[in-house]
Protein backbone atom coordinates (compact mmCIF):
# COMPACT_ATOMS: atom_id res chain seq x y z
CA UNK A 1 0.00 0.00 0.00
CA UNK A 2 1.22 3.45 -0.83
CA UNK A 3 2.35 5.42 2.18
CA UNK A 4 -0.10 8.31 2.45
CA UNK A 5 1.06 9.57 5.84
CA UNK A 6 2.36 13.14 5.77
CA UNK A 7 5.97 13.48 4.68
CA UNK A 8 8.48 15.72 6.42
CA UNK A 9 8.61 19.22 4.94
CA UNK A 10 11.92 20.95 5.32
CA UNK A 11 12.57 24.68 5.18
CA UNK A 12 15.53 26.97 5.72
CA UNK A 13 15.35 26.46 9.51
CA UNK A 14 14.99 22.69 9.45
CA UNK A 15 16.79 21.40 6.35
CA UNK A 16 19.76 19.91 8.29
CA UNK A 17 17.32 18.29 10.77
CA UNK A 18 15.48 16.40 8.04
CA UNK A 19 18.68 15.62 6.15
CA UNK A 20 20.04 14.19 9.42
CA UNK A 21 16.94 12.06 9.78
CA UNK A 22 17.51 10.65 6.29
CA UNK A 23 20.94 9.64 7.55
CA UNK A 24 19.59 8.05 10.73
CA UNK A 25 20.50 10.87 13.09
CA UNK A 26 18.38 12.99 15.43
CA UNK A 27 19.93 16.46 15.33
CA UNK A 28 19.14 19.18 17.83
CA UNK A 29 20.33 22.75 18.11
CA UNK A 30 22.98 23.88 20.58
CA UNK A 31 23.79 27.52 21.25
CA UNK A 32 27.52 28.19 21.17
CA UNK A 33 27.05 31.36 23.23
CA UNK A 34 25.00 30.12 26.20
CA UNK A 35 25.28 26.38 25.79
CA UNK A 36 21.50 25.76 25.84
CA UNK A 37 20.01 23.02 23.67
CA UNK A 38 16.63 23.37 22.03
CA UNK A 39 14.24 21.47 19.80
CA UNK A 40 12.36 23.12 16.90
CA UNK A 41 15.19 24.63 14.89
CA UNK A 42 15.11 28.39 14.43
CA UNK A 43 17.20 31.35 13.33
CA UNK A 44 18.40 32.24 16.79
CA UNK A 45 18.78 30.80 20.26
CA UNK A 46 15.46 31.22 22.14
CA UNK A 47 17.36 31.67 25.42
CA UNK A 48 19.94 34.36 24.57
CA UNK A 49 19.17 35.30 20.94
CA UNK A 50 22.65 34.47 19.78
CA UNK A 51 22.79 33.44 16.14
CA UNK A 52 25.83 31.26 16.80
CA UNK A 53 24.22 27.82 16.76
CA UNK A 54 25.48 24.35 15.97
CA UNK A 55 23.79 21.02 15.29
CA UNK A 56 24.55 18.18 17.68
CA UNK A 57 23.44 14.58 17.48
CA UNK A 58 21.13 13.44 20.27
CA UNK A 59 21.75 10.09 21.93
CA UNK A 60 18.27 8.90 20.99
CA UNK A 61 17.44 8.01 24.58
CA UNK A 62 14.53 9.68 26.30
CA UNK A 63 11.51 9.29 28.54
CA UNK A 64 7.78 9.80 28.10
CA UNK A 65 6.72 13.10 29.69
CA UNK A 66 3.10 12.56 28.68
CA UNK A 67 1.11 10.70 26.05
CA UNK A 68 -2.33 10.00 24.71
CA UNK A 69 -3.87 7.17 22.76
CA UNK A 70 -5.62 8.66 19.74
CA UNK A 71 -8.86 6.77 19.17
CA UNK A 72 -10.40 9.19 16.68
CA UNK A 73 -7.91 10.70 14.22
CA UNK A 74 -8.56 14.31 13.23
CA UNK A 75 -6.33 13.87 10.19
CA UNK A 76 -8.04 11.36 7.89
CA UNK A 77 -4.64 10.08 6.70
CA UNK A 78 -4.17 8.55 10.18
CA UNK A 79 -7.64 7.03 10.48
CA UNK A 80 -6.47 3.50 9.59
CA UNK A 81 -3.86 3.59 12.38
CA UNK A 82 -6.17 4.09 15.38
CA UNK A 83 -5.60 3.41 18.19
CA UNK A 84 -2.08 4.88 18.20
CA UNK A 85 0.11 6.74 20.67
CA UNK A 86 1.21 10.38 20.47
CA UNK A 87 3.70 11.37 23.14
CA UNK A 88 5.90 14.18 24.36
CA UNK A 89 9.37 12.75 24.80
CA UNK A 90 12.02 14.35 26.98
CA UNK A 91 15.36 13.66 25.33
CA UNK A 92 18.17 12.67 27.65
CA UNK A 93 19.90 15.91 26.58
CA UNK A 94 16.93 17.96 27.86
CA UNK A 95 14.80 19.23 24.94
CA UNK A 96 11.25 17.93 24.51
CA UNK A 97 9.74 16.78 21.24
CA UNK A 98 6.53 15.21 20.00
CA UNK A 99 6.53 11.77 18.37
CA UNK A 100 4.62 8.54 18.17
CA UNK A 101 5.50 5.63 20.37
CA UNK A 102 5.66 2.70 17.97
CA UNK A 103 6.03 -1.03 18.49
CA UNK A 104 3.96 -3.97 19.64
CA UNK A 105 3.46 -2.84 23.21
CA UNK A 106 3.02 0.85 22.41
CA UNK A 107 -0.55 0.95 23.75
CA UNK A 108 0.82 0.10 27.20
CA UNK A 109 2.86 3.33 27.25
CA UNK A 110 2.97 5.10 30.61
CA UNK A 111 4.41 8.40 31.78
CA UNK A 112 8.08 7.95 32.71
CA UNK A 113 8.68 5.05 30.33
CA UNK A 114 12.16 4.90 28.87
CA UNK A 115 12.08 5.17 25.10
CA UNK A 116 14.66 5.00 22.34
CA UNK A 117 14.87 6.48 18.89
CA UNK A 118 13.71 4.65 15.79
CA UNK A 119 13.00 5.97 12.32
CA UNK A 120 9.81 5.58 10.34
CA UNK A 121 10.05 5.48 6.56
CA UNK A 122 7.64 7.96 5.03
CA UNK A 123 8.66 7.17 1.47
CA UNK A 124 11.27 8.47 -1.01
CA UNK A 125 13.99 8.17 1.63
CA UNK A 126 12.18 10.50 4.04
CA UNK A 127 12.60 9.36 7.62
CA UNK A 128 10.59 10.56 10.61
CA UNK A 129 12.19 10.39 14.08
CA UNK A 130 10.01 8.16 16.29
CA UNK A 131 10.37 6.23 19.54
CA UNK A 132 9.75 2.76 20.89
CA UNK A 133 9.59 1.68 24.49
CA UNK A 134 12.92 0.44 25.72
CA UNK A 135 12.40 -3.22 26.59
CA UNK A 136 12.43 -3.87 30.32
Amino acid sequence: MENTLPKPVSNADSQPYWQGAREGKLLIRKCSACGQLHFMPRYLCPTCWSGDLEWVEASGKGSVHSYTIIRRASDPRFAHLVPYVVALVDLQEGPRMMANVLGENALETKIGDAVSLVFEDRGDGDQLPQFKRTSV
Binding site: L5, P8, R72, A73
Partner: protein, 392 residues
Amino acid sequence: MKQPTSLKNKIAIVGVGESEIGRVPHMTGLGLNAQACKRALDDAGLKVSDIDGLLTAYSFTEPYFMLGSVMCEYLGIQPRFNASMVVGGGSPAIMLKHAAEAIASGQAEVILVCAGENRATGQSRDAAVSTLLAVGHPYFEQPYGGSIPGYYAMIAQRHMYKYGTTREQMASVAVNTRANALLHPNAHMKKPISMDDVLSAKPIADPLGMLDCCLLSDAGGAFIVTSAERAKDLKCKPVYLQGIGEFHTHEHLMCAPSLTEFGATESGRVAYEMAGLGPKDIDVAQLYDCFSIVPIIELEELGFVKPGEGGAFFAEGRGRVGGDLPINTHGGMLSHAHAGAAGGLFGIVEAVRQLRGGLGERQVNGAEVALVHNEGGILSSHCTIILANDKG
Protein backbone atom coordinates in the same frame (compact mmCIF):
# COMPACT_ATOMS: atom_id res chain seq x y z
CA MET B 1 8.30 45.36 36.00
CA LYS B 2 6.25 48.52 35.60
CA GLN B 3 2.62 48.11 36.63
CA PRO B 4 0.13 48.48 33.77
CA THR B 5 -2.04 51.60 33.84
CA SER B 6 -5.15 50.58 35.73
CA LEU B 7 -8.33 50.20 33.73
CA LYS B 8 -10.39 49.77 36.88
CA ASN B 9 -13.79 51.42 36.60
CA LYS B 10 -12.82 53.26 33.43
CA ILE B 11 -14.98 51.27 31.05
CA ALA B 12 -18.22 49.32 31.12
CA ILE B 13 -19.89 46.61 29.10
CA VAL B 14 -23.28 48.03 28.20
CA GLY B 15 -24.79 45.54 25.82
CA VAL B 16 -24.55 41.82 25.12
CA GLY B 17 -26.07 39.58 22.49
CA GLU B 18 -26.01 36.04 21.26
CA SER B 19 -27.30 34.70 17.96
CA GLU B 20 -29.43 31.65 17.38
CA ILE B 21 -27.27 28.75 18.56
CA GLY B 22 -26.94 25.12 17.53
CA ARG B 23 -27.42 23.99 13.97
CA VAL B 24 -28.47 27.10 12.09
CA PRO B 25 -28.09 26.20 8.40
CA HIS B 26 -30.15 29.16 7.19
CA MET B 27 -27.50 31.65 8.41
CA THR B 28 -23.90 32.35 7.42
CA GLY B 29 -21.07 32.91 9.88
CA LEU B 30 -21.19 36.64 9.20
CA GLY B 31 -24.98 36.59 9.57
CA LEU B 32 -24.66 34.98 13.00
CA ASN B 33 -22.20 37.70 14.03
CA ALA B 34 -24.51 40.40 12.70
CA GLN B 35 -27.51 38.99 14.56
CA ALA B 36 -25.52 38.97 17.81
CA CYS B 37 -24.33 42.54 17.14
CA LYS B 38 -27.87 43.77 16.50
CA ARG B 39 -29.09 42.14 19.71
CA ALA B 40 -26.19 43.66 21.69
CA LEU B 41 -26.93 47.10 20.22
CA ASP B 42 -30.61 46.82 21.10
CA ASP B 43 -29.67 45.61 24.56
CA ALA B 44 -27.53 48.72 25.06
CA GLY B 45 -30.15 51.06 23.64
CA LEU B 46 -27.56 52.52 21.26
CA LYS B 47 -27.81 53.44 17.58
CA VAL B 48 -25.61 52.03 14.81
CA SER B 49 -24.19 55.53 14.32
CA ASP B 50 -22.90 55.48 17.92
CA ILE B 51 -20.41 52.69 17.11
CA ASP B 52 -16.97 54.05 16.29
CA GLY B 53 -14.87 50.94 16.82
CA LEU B 54 -15.09 47.22 16.03
CA LEU B 55 -12.98 44.23 17.00
CA THR B 56 -13.47 40.69 15.85
CA ALA B 57 -11.42 37.50 15.81
CA TYR B 58 -11.14 34.89 13.03
CA SER B 59 -13.18 32.30 11.20
CA PHE B 60 -12.24 28.82 10.07
CA THR B 61 -15.43 28.38 8.05
CA GLU B 62 -15.63 31.58 6.01
CA PRO B 63 -12.96 32.38 3.44
CA TYR B 64 -12.31 36.01 4.36
CA PHE B 65 -9.02 37.83 4.85
CA MET B 66 -9.10 40.91 7.18
CA LEU B 67 -12.15 39.71 9.05
CA GLY B 68 -12.45 42.93 11.08
CA SER B 69 -12.75 45.04 7.94
CA VAL B 70 -15.03 42.42 6.39
CA MET B 71 -17.33 42.59 9.42
CA CYS B 72 -17.47 46.41 9.27
CA GLU B 73 -18.29 46.24 5.56
CA TYR B 74 -21.04 43.63 6.16
CA LEU B 75 -22.54 45.76 8.94
CA GLY B 76 -22.20 48.96 6.90
CA ILE B 77 -20.09 50.82 9.45
CA GLN B 78 -17.00 52.97 8.99
CA PRO B 79 -15.20 52.99 12.35
CA ARG B 80 -12.08 54.84 13.45
CA PHE B 81 -10.82 51.79 15.37
CA ASN B 82 -10.77 48.27 13.91
CA ALA B 83 -8.80 45.01 13.95
CA SER B 84 -9.17 41.27 13.73
CA MET B 85 -7.32 39.46 16.48
CA VAL B 86 -6.04 35.90 16.39
CA VAL B 87 -5.11 34.76 19.86
CA GLY B 88 -7.22 31.63 19.63
CA GLY B 89 -9.84 31.16 22.31
CA GLY B 90 -8.16 33.92 24.29
CA SER B 91 -9.26 36.46 21.68
CA PRO B 92 -12.56 37.70 23.20
CA ALA B 93 -11.08 38.61 26.59
CA ILE B 94 -8.03 40.11 24.93
CA MET B 95 -10.31 42.09 22.59
CA LEU B 96 -12.04 43.47 25.68
CA LYS B 97 -8.63 44.57 26.94
CA HIS B 98 -7.76 46.29 23.67
CA ALA B 99 -11.19 47.92 23.54
CA ALA B 100 -10.81 49.13 27.12
CA GLU B 101 -7.38 50.60 26.39
CA ALA B 102 -8.65 52.30 23.23
CA ILE B 103 -11.59 53.84 25.07
CA ALA B 104 -9.50 54.87 28.06
CA SER B 105 -7.09 56.67 25.73
CA GLY B 106 -9.79 58.30 23.62
CA GLN B 107 -9.23 56.29 20.42
CA ALA B 108 -12.90 55.40 20.30
CA GLU B 109 -16.00 55.82 22.42
CA VAL B 110 -18.26 52.87 21.64
CA ILE B 111 -16.61 49.63 20.54
CA LEU B 112 -18.48 46.61 19.28
CA VAL B 113 -16.73 43.26 19.87
CA CYS B 114 -18.04 40.19 18.06
CA ALA B 115 -16.98 36.65 17.19
CA GLY B 116 -18.45 33.44 15.91
CA GLU B 117 -18.88 31.20 12.92
CA ASN B 118 -21.08 28.49 11.44
CA ARG B 119 -18.88 25.68 12.62
CA ALA B 120 -21.68 23.10 12.77
CA THR B 121 -23.17 23.52 9.29
CA GLY B 122 -20.72 25.76 7.41
CA GLN B 123 -18.58 22.72 6.61
CA SER B 124 -18.74 19.00 7.24
CA ARG B 125 -17.82 17.74 10.67
CA ASP B 126 -14.72 16.06 9.24
CA ALA B 127 -13.72 19.25 7.45
CA ALA B 128 -14.24 21.24 10.65
CA VAL B 129 -12.07 18.86 12.63
CA SER B 130 -9.41 18.76 9.91
CA THR B 131 -9.27 22.55 9.66
CA LEU B 132 -8.41 22.63 13.34
CA LEU B 133 -5.33 20.53 12.67
CA ALA B 134 -3.62 23.82 11.87
CA VAL B 135 -3.39 24.39 15.62
CA GLY B 136 -0.67 21.71 15.72
CA HIS B 137 2.83 22.64 14.54
CA PRO B 138 2.89 22.04 10.77
CA TYR B 139 6.39 20.52 10.68
CA PHE B 140 7.05 18.98 14.09
CA GLU B 141 3.60 18.00 15.42
CA GLN B 142 1.24 17.39 12.52
CA PRO B 143 3.35 14.57 10.99
CA TYR B 144 2.57 12.54 14.13
CA GLY B 145 -1.22 12.58 13.72
CA GLY B 146 -2.08 14.41 16.92
CA SER B 147 -5.27 16.42 17.35
CA ILE B 148 -6.48 19.23 19.57
CA PRO B 149 -8.25 16.75 21.89
CA GLY B 150 -5.03 14.70 21.82
CA TYR B 151 -2.89 17.64 22.93
CA TYR B 152 -5.28 18.47 25.78
CA ALA B 153 -5.42 14.76 26.63
CA MET B 154 -1.65 14.81 27.20
CA ILE B 155 -2.15 17.70 29.62
CA ALA B 156 -4.89 15.71 31.36
CA GLN B 157 -2.63 12.65 31.65
CA ARG B 158 0.09 14.72 33.26
CA HIS B 159 -2.41 16.28 35.71
CA MET B 160 -3.65 12.81 36.64
CA TYR B 161 -0.06 11.61 37.08
CA LYS B 162 1.04 14.56 39.20
CA TYR B 163 -2.05 15.14 41.34
CA GLY B 164 -4.11 11.97 41.14
CA THR B 165 -6.93 13.72 39.30
CA THR B 166 -9.38 11.07 38.13
CA ARG B 167 -11.33 10.33 34.98
CA GLU B 168 -14.54 10.64 37.04
CA GLN B 169 -13.58 14.08 38.32
CA MET B 170 -13.10 15.30 34.75
CA ALA B 171 -16.41 13.72 33.76
CA SER B 172 -18.11 15.60 36.59
CA VAL B 173 -17.13 18.87 34.88
CA ALA B 174 -19.12 17.81 31.82
CA VAL B 175 -22.09 16.60 33.91
CA ASN B 176 -22.28 19.79 36.00
CA THR B 177 -21.86 22.04 33.01
CA ARG B 178 -24.70 20.27 31.23
CA ALA B 179 -26.91 20.71 34.29
CA ASN B 180 -26.23 24.45 34.10
CA ALA B 181 -26.94 24.55 30.34
CA LEU B 182 -30.41 23.11 30.91
CA LEU B 183 -31.26 26.33 32.77
CA HIS B 184 -30.28 28.46 29.73
CA PRO B 185 -32.98 28.95 27.09
CA ASN B 186 -30.52 29.32 24.17
CA ALA B 187 -28.01 26.56 24.97
CA HIS B 188 -27.08 24.17 22.14
CA MET B 189 -27.54 21.08 24.34
CA LYS B 190 -30.95 20.43 25.86
CA LYS B 191 -30.73 16.95 27.40
CA PRO B 192 -29.23 16.01 30.77
CA ILE B 193 -26.22 13.70 30.86
CA SER B 194 -25.06 11.34 33.59
CA MET B 195 -21.62 10.33 34.78
CA ASP B 196 -22.14 7.01 32.96
CA ASP B 197 -22.95 8.84 29.72
CA VAL B 198 -19.65 10.73 29.90
CA LEU B 199 -17.57 7.68 30.87
CA SER B 200 -19.10 5.49 28.17
CA ALA B 201 -19.11 8.12 25.40
CA LYS B 202 -17.12 7.46 22.26
CA PRO B 203 -13.41 7.61 23.18
CA ILE B 204 -11.52 10.38 21.36
CA ALA B 205 -8.03 10.62 22.88
CA ASP B 206 -7.32 8.92 26.22
CA PRO B 207 -8.46 9.93 28.77
CA LEU B 208 -10.96 12.18 26.94
CA GLY B 209 -14.22 10.95 25.45
CA MET B 210 -16.68 12.75 23.21
CA LEU B 211 -18.53 14.39 26.12
CA ASP B 212 -15.26 15.74 27.57
CA CYS B 213 -14.86 17.74 24.35
CA CYS B 214 -16.46 21.05 23.40
CA LEU B 215 -19.28 21.30 20.90
CA LEU B 216 -19.10 22.35 17.27
CA SER B 217 -21.90 24.93 17.02
CA ASP B 218 -23.21 27.60 14.74
CA ALA B 219 -23.12 30.68 16.94
CA GLY B 220 -22.19 34.33 17.14
CA GLY B 221 -21.76 36.52 20.18
CA ALA B 222 -21.21 40.23 20.74
CA PHE B 223 -20.73 42.83 23.45
CA ILE B 224 -20.46 46.60 23.49
CA VAL B 225 -17.85 48.51 25.46
CA THR B 226 -17.92 52.20 26.32
CA SER B 227 -16.54 54.58 28.92
CA ALA B 228 -17.91 54.42 32.45
CA GLU B 229 -18.97 58.04 31.93
CA ARG B 230 -20.99 57.33 28.77
CA ALA B 231 -22.46 54.18 30.34
CA LYS B 232 -24.35 56.20 32.97
CA ASP B 233 -26.97 57.47 30.52
CA LEU B 234 -27.73 54.20 28.77
CA LYS B 235 -30.84 52.12 29.29
CA CYS B 236 -29.11 49.01 30.62
CA LYS B 237 -27.35 48.46 33.91
CA PRO B 238 -23.62 48.85 33.19
CA VAL B 239 -21.11 46.21 34.24
CA TYR B 240 -17.75 47.75 35.10
CA LEU B 241 -14.32 46.35 34.34
CA GLN B 242 -12.38 45.95 37.59
CA GLY B 243 -9.29 44.11 36.47
CA ILE B 244 -7.83 42.47 33.37
CA GLY B 245 -4.54 40.70 32.67
CA GLU B 246 -3.04 38.53 29.97
CA PHE B 247 -0.05 36.23 29.69
CA HIS B 248 1.44 34.12 26.90
CA THR B 249 3.91 31.26 27.25
CA HIS B 250 3.98 29.29 23.98
CA GLU B 251 1.80 28.24 21.08
CA HIS B 252 2.57 24.59 20.37
CA LEU B 253 2.32 21.99 23.10
CA MET B 254 5.82 20.67 22.45
CA CYS B 255 7.15 24.13 23.40
CA ALA B 256 5.01 24.58 26.53
CA PRO B 257 7.30 25.31 29.48
CA SER B 258 5.23 22.91 31.62
CA LEU B 259 2.24 20.60 31.24
CA THR B 260 0.95 21.45 34.71
CA GLU B 261 1.72 25.17 35.06
CA PHE B 262 0.28 27.63 32.56
CA GLY B 263 -0.19 31.36 32.05
CA ALA B 264 -3.49 31.67 33.95
CA THR B 265 -1.66 32.17 37.25
CA GLU B 266 0.02 35.30 35.92
CA SER B 267 -2.97 36.68 33.96
CA GLY B 268 -5.06 36.15 37.09
CA ARG B 269 -2.51 37.82 39.34
CA VAL B 270 -2.53 40.96 37.19
CA ALA B 271 -6.34 41.02 37.02
CA TYR B 272 -6.76 40.55 40.79
CA GLU B 273 -4.16 43.20 41.52
CA MET B 274 -5.81 45.77 39.24
CA ALA B 275 -9.20 45.00 40.78
CA GLY B 276 -7.88 45.02 44.33
CA LEU B 277 -9.77 41.76 44.78
CA GLY B 278 -8.94 38.11 45.31
CA PRO B 279 -10.49 34.71 44.62
CA LYS B 280 -12.65 34.94 47.76
CA ASP B 281 -14.40 38.03 46.36
CA ILE B 282 -15.64 36.27 43.21
CA ASP B 283 -19.32 35.27 43.20
CA VAL B 284 -19.48 33.53 39.81
CA ALA B 285 -16.81 32.40 37.34
CA GLN B 286 -16.92 31.62 33.62
CA LEU B 287 -13.88 29.47 32.84
CA TYR B 288 -12.78 28.39 29.38
CA ASP B 289 -13.85 24.77 29.01
CA CYS B 290 -12.87 23.46 25.59
CA PHE B 291 -12.09 20.15 27.34
CA SER B 292 -13.14 18.92 30.77
CA ILE B 293 -9.61 19.09 32.21
CA VAL B 294 -9.27 22.80 31.43
CA PRO B 295 -11.61 24.36 34.05
CA ILE B 296 -9.94 22.13 36.66
CA ILE B 297 -6.55 23.62 35.81
CA GLU B 298 -7.90 27.18 35.60
CA LEU B 299 -9.69 26.87 38.94
CA GLU B 300 -6.35 25.95 40.50
CA GLU B 301 -4.25 28.55 38.68
CA LEU B 302 -6.71 31.33 39.48
CA GLY B 303 -6.34 30.55 43.16
CA PHE B 304 -9.83 29.23 43.96
CA VAL B 305 -8.36 25.94 45.17
CA LYS B 306 -4.87 24.59 45.69
CA PRO B 307 -3.06 22.83 42.83
CA GLY B 308 -4.47 19.34 42.48
CA GLU B 309 -7.79 20.14 44.19
CA GLY B 310 -9.72 21.28 41.12
CA GLY B 311 -11.05 17.83 40.24
CA ALA B 312 -12.54 17.23 43.68
CA PHE B 313 -14.17 20.68 43.61
CA PHE B 314 -16.18 19.77 40.52
CA ALA B 315 -16.87 16.21 41.66
CA GLU B 316 -18.44 17.58 44.85
CA GLY B 317 -20.80 19.71 42.76
CA ARG B 318 -19.39 22.95 44.16
CA GLY B 319 -19.29 24.53 40.67
CA ARG B 320 -23.00 24.13 39.96
CA VAL B 321 -25.55 26.90 40.17
CA GLY B 322 -26.28 26.89 43.91
CA GLY B 323 -22.77 25.65 44.76
CA ASP B 324 -19.89 27.51 46.47
CA LEU B 325 -18.68 29.10 43.24
CA PRO B 326 -21.01 28.57 40.29
CA ILE B 327 -18.95 28.01 37.15
CA ASN B 328 -20.09 28.28 33.55
CA THR B 329 -23.66 29.04 34.52
CA HIS B 330 -24.64 29.22 30.82
CA GLY B 331 -23.30 25.76 30.10
CA GLY B 332 -19.88 26.70 28.75
CA MET B 333 -18.36 25.40 25.56
CA LEU B 334 -19.15 21.86 26.61
CA SER B 335 -22.92 22.45 26.52
CA HIS B 336 -23.93 26.04 25.61
CA ALA B 337 -21.93 26.68 22.40
CA HIS B 338 -18.53 26.56 20.81
CA ALA B 339 -18.01 28.33 17.49
CA GLY B 340 -14.50 29.68 17.04
CA ALA B 341 -13.77 32.61 19.28
CA ALA B 342 -17.44 32.90 20.26
CA GLY B 343 -16.94 30.15 22.85
CA GLY B 344 -15.00 32.33 25.25
CA LEU B 345 -17.07 35.38 24.33
CA PHE B 346 -20.21 33.73 25.72
CA GLY B 347 -18.44 33.54 29.09
CA ILE B 348 -18.26 37.34 29.03
CA VAL B 349 -21.91 37.62 27.92
CA GLU B 350 -22.98 35.33 30.76
CA ALA B 351 -20.90 37.17 33.37
CA VAL B 352 -22.57 40.44 32.37
CA ARG B 353 -26.04 38.86 32.57
CA GLN B 354 -25.31 37.34 35.99
CA LEU B 355 -24.19 40.73 37.30
CA ARG B 356 -27.31 42.43 35.97
CA GLY B 357 -29.45 39.81 37.66
CA GLY B 358 -32.90 38.42 36.94
CA LEU B 359 -31.88 35.16 35.26
CA GLY B 360 -34.46 33.06 37.10
CA GLU B 361 -33.35 29.57 38.03
CA ARG B 362 -29.79 30.03 36.81
CA GLN B 363 -29.26 33.34 38.62
CA VAL B 364 -26.47 33.30 41.17
CA ASN B 365 -28.14 35.11 44.06
CA GLY B 366 -26.51 38.37 44.99
CA ALA B 367 -23.80 38.11 42.32
CA GLU B 368 -21.75 41.31 42.45
CA VAL B 369 -18.32 40.27 41.14
CA ALA B 370 -17.65 37.87 38.28
CA LEU B 371 -14.45 36.42 36.84
CA VAL B 372 -14.03 35.29 33.24
CA HIS B 373 -11.02 33.39 31.94
CA ASN B 374 -10.31 32.81 28.24
CA GLU B 375 -7.43 30.75 26.91
CA GLY B 376 -6.28 30.02 23.39
CA GLY B 377 -4.15 27.49 21.59
CA ILE B 378 -3.14 24.64 23.87
CA LEU B 379 -3.38 26.62 27.13
CA SER B 380 -1.04 29.04 25.34
CA SER B 381 -2.61 32.51 25.51
CA HIS B 382 -4.45 33.57 28.66
CA CYS B 383 -6.63 36.51 29.67
CA THR B 384 -8.48 36.95 32.95
CA ILE B 385 -11.22 39.54 33.46
CA ILE B 386 -12.91 40.70 36.66
CA LEU B 387 -16.24 42.49 36.29
CA ALA B 388 -18.57 44.05 38.85
CA ASN B 389 -22.04 45.55 38.80
CA ASP B 390 -21.00 48.39 41.06
CA LYS B 391 -17.92 50.59 40.97
CA GLY B 392 -16.94 49.04 44.31
